[in-house]
Subunit: 206 residues, 3 copies
């Protein structure tokens, strides 16, 4: 099941990357590259951090075609995206949860300690979006808007907690998804966000 | 032959990095670092993606001296660069083709599948320029201007196609270079570029 | 001794990351992530470049807690930071020297050649700050202000030179720290900086 959701999720992330590239007036190649990086960049950074070679997508060329295809297809349907916004946000939230759980599992298999497992989950969940924003020369959005990275963090904690208490894997997945999707949707609906830290310049940090 | 062209190419890329650093008023250290990253960053990212350790330049300290030296030398000759613009563009195009072919060969030797080999070629070809632009806090130029990344893509396809059909390596190299240089020069001469995708902001991509 | 200084140093770097995040009005998660990346990013990039797996912090979860804790704690004491500015600059300079020496030692242990050892030292010393600035969408400060990256370079040269001449390790450490701290403090006090390279745009680098 996680694989199906993963495939849907990388498609959604690729589309989000393509839209960001479109806002910067990039050419077709830029759209394809940023779609690819947004969808698969989180897992790539995770694999490089954990020394998990070969990097996952290099063993699944299908993911390359899928994300680039989804990115280019987005150009065609961009004008309908606003209408699809709700579905898009839902699929994106599914991706966030799926990426987080997959990232945790990779680090667990490599026998890293719990805090590193959580970092691996979050990295998989949010780093594609961070790379997208760096490539588009803007501040990482995931660190400023409604709860997003925090949802990834809480899902990782919940998922690992249930593993710790020996909960059946399928039940664990269902609970983690219900929890993660609810949190994210509620955060969007009621504009939940973390407190912001605002600091005015001083000399040294000029 | 490829090695000679590679050495010329990293020199040219280092100079392009130094000029970009100069536009941001960086100090000598910044110029040296960005020259180094522009010239060797593409191959470094490729090696890190493919798990190809040790990273190439760590085994060839000469490349470190060469790129940093070329970067600092650029400061001296910067005022003549405009006059040298045509030669510079030609050498840069040679670098793009050489980097692409070298990147493909590294991935081939590690027995990655064809789509990954192509990605390795493109990464080697364009990622130095992308790192340069990220360090200089600007949009990656290679994804917006005249055909550049696309030339890398087409050269990779052509080169691998000729390997597939058993063409002699030297003939393959010559054809790939003639094709790649012609494409790039024609793109500059007649301002060929890919269609651009322009998308206006919506709430979620704020 | 180096370990104690390292712990103090990553705390200081985490605080510098948190302040930079605060200037961009990031949320708590953003503050924590950027504190972590600023403190441990230099060593992480070094380990990924050298193929030094597992990456250091993945084996010391304490560093994760410490840097994130220091980042969040900075929010509480931010209003006193201006008064603490001198201490902060001193600790930051200690960190720069400690990171550089630690980076050199990692590369020495892996038997890389001298230029690569120096690059490893500098990468450990300055890349946390570079990642912080990329995440905050600003130009890397370490390449523009008073001598900073250059201090890392000179400390690496001095430290390796003393190893080459068989100086006792403890004496080497003391001399390297005294030299590095003096250089950095003098650079701040008298605004020493490297010459700047300013280059005005031409067509190709547009």
């Amino acid at each position: 099941m996680l694989t199906y959701i993963f495939v849907i999720a990388i498609t959604a992330e690729a589309m989000s990357g393509a839209l960001a590239a479109g806002r910067r007036n990039m050419d077709l190649f830029g759209v394809a590259l940023i779609a690819f990086m947004t969808a698969l960049g989180g897992g790539t950074v995770r694999d490089m951090l954990l020394g998990n070679y070969p990097v996952v997508w290099t063993q699944h060329p299908l993911y390359i075609y899928l994300t680039i295809g989804a990115g280019l297809f987005t150009i065609v349907i961009a004008k309908y995206m606003r209408r699809l916004n709700r579905i898009f946000l839902l699929v994106d939230a599914m991706g966030l949860v799926a990426f987080t759980i997959i990232g945790c599992n990779v680090a667990l298999r490599l026998e890293y300690e719990t805090p590193v497992v959580i970092m691996a989950g979050i990295t998989t969940g949010i780093f594609g979006g961070i790379l997208r924003d760096i490539m588009c020369n803007r501040m990482p959005q995931v660190l400023r808007h409604e709860l997003y990275a925090s949802v990834s963090f809480l899902v990782a904690i919940l998922y690992l907690g249930m593993i710790h208490f020996g909960i059946n894997e399928n039940i664990n997945l269902i609970i983690s998804f219900v929890f993660g999707l609810s949190m994210r949707m509620a955060a969007i609906r009621w504009s939940w966000s973390l407190p912001v830290f605002s600091y005015s310049p001083d000399r040294w940090n000029g």
